[in-house]
Symmetry: C2
Subunit: 316 residues, 2 copies
Amino acid sequence: MELDIAHLTAFAAVVEEGSFDAAARRLHLTPSAVSQRIKALESRMGQILVRRTKPAQATEAGHVLARLAGQISLLESEALTELTGGRESAGLARQIPIAVNADSLATWFLPALAALGEHYSRLTFDIRQEDQDHSAALLRDGSVMAAVTAEPQVVQGCRTERLGAMRYLAVASPALGVDPLPMITNTYQPHRSTSVHDHRKGADALGSIPMLVFNRKDALQDRFAEMVTGSRQELPVTYLPSSRGFVEAAQLGLGWGMVPEQMARPALDDGSLVELVPGRHLDVPLFWQRWRLDSPALAALTAAVQDAAAVALRSG
Amino acid sequence: MELDIAHLTAFAAVVEEGSFDAAARRLHLTPSAVSQRIKALESRMGQILVRRTKPAQATEAGHVLARLAGQISLLESEALTELTGGRESAGLARQIPIAVNADSLATWFLPALAALGEHYSRLTFDIRQEDQDHSAALLRDGSVMAAVTAEPQVVQGCRTERLGAMRYLAVASPALGVDPLPMITNTYQPHRSTSVHDHRKGADALGSIPMLVFNRKDALQDRFAEMVTGSRQELPVTYLPSSRGFVEAAQLGLGWGMVPEQMARPALDDGSLVELVPGRHLDVPLFWQRWRLDSPALAALTAAVQDAAAVALRSG
């Protein structure tokens, strides 16, 4: 079956921009011309491809075509760049859509993009901050080409590799009166054996001050509290969907929460945060999932992400 | 019409938690008991109140009851606290749901919560990071009690007041070769008169390096580019839905973007960012919208937000 690339491009623009009007502006067409192309493509496929909602969304069948459109667009742009020595690539879409979990985005991910360097300086990105459940759906339906995610399950048509583990520490402001053993507070001893007695004060604090939770899907704090106290508890919760906001809220005394060690370290060092239960932590493995696509840009991105993760994450 | 508070509580829990199972866990009931209460309430109202989707969502009619449930819960908790001198409030929901735009959350908002102080130390929050369009809907349907938003239009049943304006500066890494006049770079002169010549180099850079954009609804960069160049342009875009990520990406040379002056200032001072067009900026007025509700907690929160905004925002 042959597809009309102009129709496919119009379709992809509607899905990416979320409306026929915005797609028309991007493609320098009238909205009616965009609408005709979509209808022609739907007629060709014998299926509805776009739900006319606000924002406009691809149907199940549409997702397959959206992914195809993204793949064609990247390969086409790379081929033209190669053929013309880069002179004719400027007008073409070389935007890579990526899903990244919030804590990676707040710590090690952006430097990885910057490390792509001169050769890819014209590449742009469409970054989505997503939790792992959503990332798999975005990969499957073609909305993103790659994802940093805690989900190890391979998405069909994608390659998956382990990047390492992000270590989370339970932290709070010392002003809340949490009182871990002083000799441990400022010394990092991940393999230190701990006794129940050592945990007592920090563990008691778990139930007495609000727990900071990123959103309804964030179970890290509950897992940590259960690991330390040995039981599930009903704790008062403040929801705060911001990685940097988490650290700031903990420093301000609004509650305790699980923070990536990279973000906790400076605050632990300057004493604005203390560990609730020194020596105890949670490690969350992270994976890089990307489309199986022979694209130099995606390969370069993968290498840069691997390099940055090797430095920033724990191999354990 | 009298409503059964137990039914209303079950209903509110389903809407807040997003599922019958999670609501049952929170209320220490079986899912079937929760389901029966919802059905009883729906039968009483003669309308479907909850869409059984994933997540479960309130219908139009349900939104009215969700808002009522939130108001009753807060007033009840405050009355009991007053009557018992605080001894019996621990088990009651005193969580205030608030919508906050991302840049306020990243700058001045959390210190305002912390400033509520000892008297409200048991208060928790359900913070949603939302753009202005969505905030109005969340206020209307009762999902949040208050919002920091750029939307001045009064939501029915709410009070609105102006908090001040957030000033945005166009910044980029000096490594990108952007070359504003050196004498201006590190001196803040908001009212400096500028000539076309002064703008030239920074304005040229606008089109030559990628533009950082928060999401599809963020028009600040386009507005600034149009203000400075006098015309609408098609610029290469990297989407990055993170306030702190914006500053970091600009410092890393991934593009230029509009950043709140509070976040830009340290980077401008240490030379890791420069202003593209010194002396030009965009001011975005922010508003505090809250339910008309005679609640001491909401009043204390309002005062704390006003105080923090008076220091952090511009009055202009």
